[in-house]
Amino acid sequence: MSFDAFPFWIFLLAVWALYLAIPSNAARKTLLIIASYLLYASWAPSYLFLLGGVTIGSYWAGVLVGNRQRRAVLITAVTALVALLAIAKGRLNPLPVGISFYVLQAIAYLADRYRGHLPEPAGLFDYTLHMSFFPRLPAGPIVRADEFLPQLRKGVPVTGAMVWEALVLVSFGLFKKLVIADNLALAADPVFANLHASGSRILLATYAFAVQIYCDFSGYSDIAIGTARLFGYRLPMNFNWPYLARDPADFWRRWHISLSNWLRDYVYFSLPGLRAKWRGYTYLNLCVTMLVCGLWHGASWPYLAWGGYHGALLAGHRAVHAHRAPKKPTGLHAFGSILLMQQLAVIGWILFRVNRLGDLPVYARSLGAAPFFTGFTGAEWTAIALLAAVVIAHLLEVRVPITRSAIARPWNPWLLVLFVLMGMAAVVMGVPTQRMFLYFRF
């Protein structure tokens, strides 16, 4: 049951109706745990024990770590979790859905317990829901326990404003996935499968993939956050228009925010030399952190190269601004910065998308070979139109924050008209063969 398939929405409506009918917070949480495990079973029944095992194991490790800061327990538990993740990524096929995300969440919980950010251990009941809450189970956002557990304890009444927010986010998310990402994939996938194409097709496929991965993952994140909102819970924002970033640090404050924050809090801050005077430590740590980010996506050279590339960008950016405080660019300078950062990000996506690094010379040769333009297929023309629409949306976002404005106008009839039209666009332009969300595979 994928988030963009009918059965999921029927399941969601059924769970939501029951949730609203139940008055007690404890019973509601029980329902959500049952629903989460049922949904997980529909994806990968044989891996239910992994989710359950990680939940129980990290819960008890969290109790043991306690406030006495038992370092050995922490190191043992984190090592076991990392080893489990490595084995799963290396050996299990298909990869258990969501394991990359719930393992990071468990590590965050243990680290927070050790650091004293969570003086009281969570109850097993709430912790189980924290680990398995179905809207974010398959691909995040990664939520820190101190953000989510208080909401679970308190219990939040569902209001009309929350339902509207959910409707806005889910509509935008489905549109991004079904209309934009899936159609862009039709232009990107065939070219990356066979790089012996003309330069124009290679270039289009590259930009198409850069927008595809953004719309796919941010579309999923919108759906996840919106779905959680239906139950009254607030999940942190995972994307904030990353292609409007002005520099590499800004990019990572806008792209996969929950992972960026996790890497900053639990990898970067854990590396030695944080307070050292020698700046080389900072640059090295940035590179190491981003290499971990690449490895998290998969133990392959392209992901590692992508992580290393972003580490180098972050270190380079930090080095440039080591001697002069960064000024917020304005006007043309800002436009130039955004454009430059977009191109740097797109170069990164080439590393990320190629099947192996050995394909890079083929990519470069095809890009430079004559004739550059040999025509486009129908799917590629559609991709060009969609890329233009995405550019317009970005220009609009600079002037009016689109999602926030929509959320601020509950049950506005013109927005409802827009959602109906977006739904029709999804029907007409949806790609019949269903494509899994890209980040379900990580």
């Binding site: 049951m1 009918f6 529909s42 506005n412 008209v417 109906v420």
Partner: protein, 363 residues
């Protein structure tokens, strides 16, 4: 541009008016048959609309023939009716129709005024197996989209393997615009062409009346002339080299039907057999007299349907027929390659003989 939150004014009123109009137009198009007006000859539902037009035009027919393309091509209703003007037949066979389709098109035909006393259902060996990489039930729903209604939500229950499958298929019936995806996309990409074709289609459909002949195929090609089936690709290449384009085109058509069928891992499936039985029960309940006839096929090498699979199908069909009162199983129509236009459809001569064969046994 957008009205301010919490303020109800003329902009809100206009917005709600547009919203209601939009929803009403959507309901009229996708839930109340309005889209039929835009069906062109590219639509998967045109064959259903054509079948129902025949049902309306020949509502006095008492024999209804159901099946997939084998029924559509192998049975010649005009020939049948010429032999027995008092007991006429109507052909509701539709290409690629499968188990869900048959009793559903019959009930839609009854809504058009049909009063069948005898039903002939032509079955192919595929009916009892799952078919790799193709969802026949979804295909049936897509073809039937202009006639689906809330009753299909109930009917789907007996065609769904489990609750998850039911939810999946029922979702398509509930969110019906999804089933029109192909037509809408096609209409948007080629608006003028399709609107012109839709006009032609409407005129053509309107031309059918009680006295008008029913559409029949007239292909006279014999599959014997295609040469050995496993060598079709080489034969086509040779014919093209020799400049015999029309013969190559016929062989290409044979290959198009043969290639997707060879060496498929078909296996008699218990649930598909149960679905088949439920369909027969419904058809028998409708008329009390159902003739089940195996659709003829040409498979000399047993590479489309293995001997083991054929035996399994025969056994399962006999068991089903024994369990459902009112259903009679007819023996296979004897045919050799001279009567086939490809491996699964009879040519004109074959269809004439098959029609006579049915006439002799059914009436």
């Amino acid at each position: 541009m957008l009205p301010k939150p919490g303020h109800f004014g003329i902009a809100h009123l206009a917005g709600y008016t547009v919203l209601i109009l939009l929803l009403a137009a959507g309901a009229a198009l996708f839930y109340f048959g309005g889209f039929t007006y835009f069906l062109s000859n590219q639509s998967s539902s045109l064959s259903v609309v054509l079948a129902l037009t025949q049902a309306r035009a020949h509502h006095d027919a008492t024999v209804v023939v159901l099946g997939n393309s084998t029924a559509a091509e192998d049975f010649h209703p005009n020939r049948f009716n010429a032999q027995s003007p008092r007991r006429t037949a109507v052909n509701l066979g539709v290409p690629s129709a499968h188990l869900y389709f048959f009793d559903r098109i019959l009930s839609a035909g009854i809504d058009q005024g049909l009063h069948p006393r005898t039903i002939v259902l032509m079955y192919t060996p595929e009916f009892l197996s799952l078919w790799p990489d193709f969802d026949f039930l979804l295909n049936d729903l897509t073809m039937l989209k202009t006639v689906l209604n809330s009753g299909d939500l109930v009917r789907l229950g007996s065609h769904s393997r489990n609750a998850r499958a039911y939810v999946n298929y029922a979702s398509y019936v509930a969110a019906r615009p999804i089933l029109f995806r192909g037509e809408m996309r096609d209409l948007l990409l080629h608006p003028r062409e399709r609107l012109d074709q839709a006009r032609t289609v409407r005129t053509w459909l309107a031309s059918f009346g009680p006295g008008s002949p029913m559409p029949e195929t007239a292909n006279t090609f014999s599959v014997c002339d295609a040469g050995p089936l496993p060598e079709l690709e080489q034969t086509i290449a040779r014919l093209e080299r020799e400049g015999r384009a029309s013969q190559a085109a016929e062989d290409q058509r044979v290959l198009a039907g043969y290639a997707p069928r060879i060496h498929k891992p078909l296996r008699v499936d218990a649930f598909e057999t149960l679905r088949f039985r439920r369909v027969l029960e419904r058809l028998a309940a409708e008329t009390g007299s159902v003739y089940l006839v195996p659709a003829p096929f040409y498979d000399p090498n047993y590479d489309q349907y293995s001997a083991e699979y054929r035996r399994g199908v025969d056994r399962a069909v006999r068991d089903v027929v024994a369990a459902v009162p009112g259903v009679k199983l007819l023996p296979p129509f004897p045919a050799d390659c001279r009567l086939f236009q490809d491996t699964v459809h009879l040519n004109h001569q074959g269809a004439d003989q098959f029609t006579d064969y049915l006439h002799a046994r059914v009436l």
